[in-house]
């Protein structure tokens, strides 16, 4: 039962990264690929009707984590207190960047909110990557299962690391580059003309960087947490995950060059999905490893809710998610196809 919920939480977080990832990616590249006001409006229109629903995956994933693993939710949210509050402020900056720029027809106003959108998106990507880096690397956990991680300590990976050290900074950069790539491919799918061309060009430029940084992060992971290989040794079938990562990386570049934007974007979805699933698989059954004393690690077993609740939750979680997927299908069908500058209906 715990394992099942571990998988469900992992799926929700993966869905969040893939879906909101392209909103963030579009934001990171916003100032680069969209130069005129008309282009910027078009980029925002590509995500306008969907970004809010995508962000709900963060909330729903958080709620699912709270319900299934309350002790993990409590320990990690209070332990990562400062970066989480900063993430909340950045989410505010991102949201008002998207939603408020249209309201006033003034250069200063729109530039300000474009800046808000771009900077918040980039920093959010870095923070989310660093967050995952922290979980893989582990933190110093007290005997009672609590911890409080400072923003940084010595920048080294030792037994009492801060939130930012060389490893988590690399993880943050992986997220920044990967989501920028993801966003570029998404914008390419949803636009035509100059924007489409610039988006493809950014993707082509980002691709080698993504390869290098992905390799760097894998090497870094092996050095800070060699135990991550244990699960792979015991279940060699999982080696399909790195194979999929490599084919996804190849697919992104190959399809984008051929002009098949949709497949390139789907490859990027596969890349993000397999990277996250690969990390989750390597960690299992740990959910927050302790660097100081492995006995203090938080696992799915010592943080889960009671079985009765987990079993019942499964039923209505399933119904709720089936409904949610149905809404997503309706919305994405409704807004399918290319977005052009003069399309009507950004109705504020």
């Amino acid at each position: 039962m715990e394992t099942l919920w571990f998988a469900l939480v992992a799926i929700m977080i993966t869905a969040y990264v893939i879906l909101d990832g392209f909103d963030l990616g579009a934001g990171i590249l916003h100032l680069v690929i969209a130069r005129t006001d008309e282009e910027r409006r078009t980029v925002i229109r590509t995500i306008g009707p969907v970004w809010d629903g995508n962000e709900v995956f963060l909330l729903a994933g958080g709620g699912t984590l709270f319900f299934a693993f309350p002790a993990l939710y409590a320990a990690s949210f209070s332990g990562f207190y400062l970066p989480l509050c900063i993430v909340l402020w950045l989410l505010i900056g991102r949201a008002i960047g998207i939603e408020f720029r249209h309201h006033v027809d003034s250069r200063v106003w729109t530039d300000f909110f474009d800046g808000c959108f771009c900077i918040s998106s980039a920093l959010l990507a870095i923070f989310f990557g660093a967050a995952l880096g922290n979980i893989v690397r582990g933190v110093a956990i007290n005997k009672d299962g609590t911890f409080f991680a400072p923003l940084w300590t010595s920048w080294r990976v030792d037994n009492d690391p801060g939130i930012l050290d060389w490893y988590t900074v690399i993880a943050g950069l992986v997220a920044l580059v990967a989501l920028a790539m993801h966003g570029a491919l998404y914008v390419a799918v949803k636009t035509e003309g100059t924007l489409n061309r610039r988006a493809r060009k950014s993707a082509a430029l980002l691709w080698p960087v993504l390869i290098v940084i992905t390799i760097a992060s894998l090497l870094g992971t092996l050095s800070v947490r060699p135990q991550i290989l244990d699960n792979y040794r015991n279940h060699p079938i999982a080696l399909i995950i790195p194979v999929l990562v490599i084919s996804a990386l190849t697919g992104m570049a190959a399809f984008s060059r051929k002009g098949n934007d949709l497949r390139a974007f789907l490859s990027s979805c596969l890349y993000l999905g397999t990277m996250l699933v690969g990390a989750a698989f390597g960690l299992y059954p740990n959910v927050m490893p302790a660097r100081n004393d492995p006995a203090n690690s938080l696992t799915i077993y010592n943080t889960a809710s009671g079985h009765h609740g987990l079993a019942y939750g499964l039923i209505w979680w399933g119904i709720g998610m089936a409904l949610a997927i149905a809404y997503f299908v309706i919305v994405y069908r409704m807004f399918r196809g290319k977005v052009t500058a003069d399309a009507s209906g950004y109705g504020h």
């Binding site: 309350p70 402020w89 809710s305 409904l323 919305v331 950004y346």
Partner: protein, 452 residues
């Protein structure tokens, strides 16, 4: 300022109070927008569609603010109240997760359709998307109230060996009588905010002699909804909620009413200042025997005072609780007065010419916000010193690993951030109101809307 418990309480109080300024209007406006859309279709009258579009704009700005200030609320259970989350997550995690997957997905998906899809959808499909937004926002309210009601009146749980709370019956938690009472009282309060705001904007236009045709629609819908829900707010919802509270949280009721000594035929204190040290109300204005009558339906019933409750179980801030309750109840009564008079004038077809009444409707705008806020303060301060009533004390629930200094850092950050949000909100809303609902005609003719 170095007391971590105090900082964490202030942190939550500040962020939740600011947050709830927005959902109360979205939840209140959502059904009114459905009403406007319904009339538009049934009478085939496009003026009502225009009105719905105008209110959808105000709704959308509010919604953004509600979302961005709402996400911190879900995070804060973990960041600032870790011990509480760890112990109770097995129970309240359920409604909070349900809120995410049942209402937020619904709300966000259909709000996209509602705001962006008017030209792409048939009129009934567009009506449907408005209805789904209404349903999503009201479901969300329900799950949150279920969470709060469980803290006020815990049901359907068991305690595990490690002291944590686990679900025994999710159905019992969902149908907690406290939740049903609190929900009806709260949602009616939200509609009061929605209808007073709608009437106030209409009254403003009528006083300015602008957009008068639309303004009359706003005032009419606002006043009719306002009179209905102002009455429901007091009776039956407020009345039943108060009686249930007197039964299950007698200490809260006693402190709210400023009743220090247990009395037969207790009087209702209308005004006066509580003096906690001397245990009395200064300058009291009392209606004899009224409190006994309101709670038990008879003037001779005994009402329990604070003297029956051990001092360590007294609410921690009695004066603030007393004032919150009295402000809420006083304003609620005033709302009935305002709306009954307005309805009478509307019925006599004199309202739109009665400028004095339009002035009152316009100036009444902030008061439902104050009343709703005061109501929530009554509920939450009244629950003290407990997080989970009778079972878990507030002092045992906060994140002991987050120091007062770190808490103050983020509290100041939120205060700064929310100040910016408040300024942006007021600026944008006043622009929408200044431009008025008539601009919408240009959209119908196909003029680009991007500059709006």
């Amino acid at each position: 300022m170095d007391d971590a418990l105090f900082i964490h309480r202030l942190h939550f109080a500040f962020t939740i109070t600011f947050h709830y300024l927005f959902p109360q209007l979205t939840m209140g406006l959502a059904p009114l927008i459905v009403v406007l859309k319904t009339i538009a279709i049934r009478r085939n009258d496009d003026r009502y569609n225009q009105a719905a579009r105008f209110w959808a704009k105000i709704f959308a700005i509010n919604f953004v603010l509600g979302v961005v200030t709402g996400i911190p609320m879900e995070f804060q259970f973990g960041t600032n109240w870790a011990q509480f989350s760890k112990l109770t997550g097995g129970v309240i995690g359920q409604p909070l997760m349900a809120e995410g997957i049942y209402s937020f997905f619904l709300e966000s998906a259909f709000l996209g359709l509602f705001l962006f899809g008017e030209q792409r959808l048939s009129k009934w499909a567009h009506w449907g998307s408005a209805f789904m937004v209404f349903l999503g926002s009201w479901l969300s309210g329900y799950f949150i109230i279920v969470t709060d009601a469980w803290m006020q009146h815990p049901v359907g749980y068991t305690r595990a060996a490690d002291g944590s709370f686990q679900v025994a019956s999710f159905w019992e938690i969902l149908t907690n009588p406290w939740a049903l009472l609190q929900y009806s009282h709260n949602m009616s309060g939200a509609v009061i905010t929605g209808s007073f705001v709608m009437a106030a904007v209409g009254a403003f236009y009528l006083l300015e002699r602008k957009h008068e045709e639309q303004a009359r629609i706003f005032v009419r819908v606002g006043v009719v909804a306002g009179v209905i829900f102002s009455c429901i707010q007091v009776f039956p919802t407020g009345d039943l909620h108060g009686k249930y509270m007197a039964k299950h949280q007698p200490a809260t009721t006693a402190a709210m009413e400023g009743l220090w000594k247990t009395e037969r035929g207790a009087g209702l204190t209308i005004m006066g200042q509580p003096d906690v040290e001397k245990q009395r109300i200064d300058n009291p204005l009392v209606v004899n025997k009224m409190l006994s009558f309101l709670i038990y339906g008879t003037t001779v019933a005994e009402v329990q005072g604070l003297d029956k409750v051990p001092k360590e179980d007294w609410p921690t801030n009695i004066p603030l609780l007393y004032y919150s309750y009295h402000v809420m109840a006083g304003l609620g009564t005033a709302f009935i007065g305002i709306m009954v008079v307005a309805t009478f004038l509307l019925w006599r077809k004199k309202l739109f010419a009665s400028r004095w009444m339009l002035w009152i409707l316009m100036l009444a705008l902030p008061f439902p916000y104050i009343a709703n806020t005061a109501g929530w303060m009554t509920a939450e301060i009244g629950r003290q010193p407990w997080l989970v009533y009778g079972l878990l004390r507030t002092q045992h629930g906060f994140s002991a690993n987050v120091s007062a200094g770190n808490g103050l850092f983020t509290l100041i950050g939120f205060m700064g951030m929310y100040t910016v949000l408040a300024i942006l909100f007021l600026f944008l809303i006043s622009r929408v109101i200044a431009r008025g609902p008539v601009l919408e005609e240009s959209i119908a003719k196909g003029t680009p809307v991007s500059a709006v």
